[in-house]
Symmetry: C2
Subunit: 191 residues, 2 copies
């Protein structure tokens, strides 16, 4: 398997053609991650929900992280990470234009609003149905791609952790990889 950093454009392209992502927010030191549907446009991920845990958490702490990917297999995948900031598109005159724009993006895919909506139905039938339009401003967008290379010897089957079995296959792989031409170093925030 070869790992390559995606160009910025390739990362944006993945976001543009992807609808399902995972949105992480945090309250205090507790992170929370849920699947969500979005539409990417020009640096922003637009989405829509009803008031609930993730909206309440993002209102209190707008720092979020979004992950979107295309996984064919453990050896063939692309993954994009967006560090961003939550911005609620309030129903005020200030936001009128951007809310209309978000609506126009989101309505092209009518089914998208269903999960966010349906969760409210499930969780609290008495809660008023308040639609929340929001967008994530992508402050840092990076991506990685894995492509199959050649078969790599799997780890050996030694059971003991105290002998050299664990390091053995890592060192074996290390030699294998070091024999290849060097590729561009990455500064992507992964690991």
């Amino acid at each position: 398997m070869l790992i390559q950093e995606l160009t910025r454009q390739a990362s944006l392209d993945l976001l543009a053609r992807t609808r399902l992502g995972r949105l992480a927010c945090a309250q205090g030191t507790q992170p929370y991650v849920v699947p969500f549907y979005f539409v990417y446009d020009d640096g922003f991920l637009y989405s829509f929900s009803t008031v609930g845990q993730k909206i309440e958490w993002m209102r209190a702490n707008p720092l979020v992280c979004v992950e979107a990917d295309e996984v064919v297999s453990p050896e063939q995948w692309m993954s994009v990470i967006v560090f961003g900031r939550y911005e609620e598109l309030l129903d005020t005159s200030e936001y009128q234009g951007v809310r209309a724009f978000a609506h126009s993006l989101l309505k092209r895919h009518a089914v998208w609003w269903e999960p966010g909506y349906a969760e409210t139905i499930l969780h609290d039938r008495q809660r008023p149905l308040v639609p929340v339009f929001y967008r994530i401003h992508g402050r840092q967008i990076t991506g990685l791609r894995a492509i199959p290379d050649q078969p790599v010897t799997p780890p050996d089957t030694r059971l003991s952790m105290t002998d050299s079995g664990e390091d053995g296959w890592l060192q074996s792989l290390l030699r294998h990889v070091r024999g290849k031409p060097k590729r561009k170093q990455s500064r992507a925030l992964r690991g």
Copy 2:
């Protein structure tokens, strides 16, 4: 679309048959989410990586959240959320047994170690290859399932956000859903 809460057993079953999940951690108020491979066994998600950003963040703050799902379409999916705690399986006598157990689980799927490994290769060739075995202790495990119901009228195509168009389709849906038999309330932490 009908949304139902998964039973605890159904949530655990999904974790047991799923390999790819998304792992969220947080540093200060900044969440971070990445795809990762894991093996679930008896309340714990076992995984393996090399030292990098997510390991460093989880060492500093062990509170994590894992999401795993099976998505067929926006109307047909299952999603499980695990609030848990990171525990590093240190190479010490205390952890020898559990490390051996983790290794035995993980080695059945040899390809799994490749993404974690390969990222280190990409990001820092000079960094020593330190394998990190860890597990997530699932403190709270909940799941939801969506199943297709009957076609629901999509939102109308009004562009203005200041008229009643936005609420119109929500209210229309609300009437639609209220006409159905009541289903069990959920206390799952979603939204």
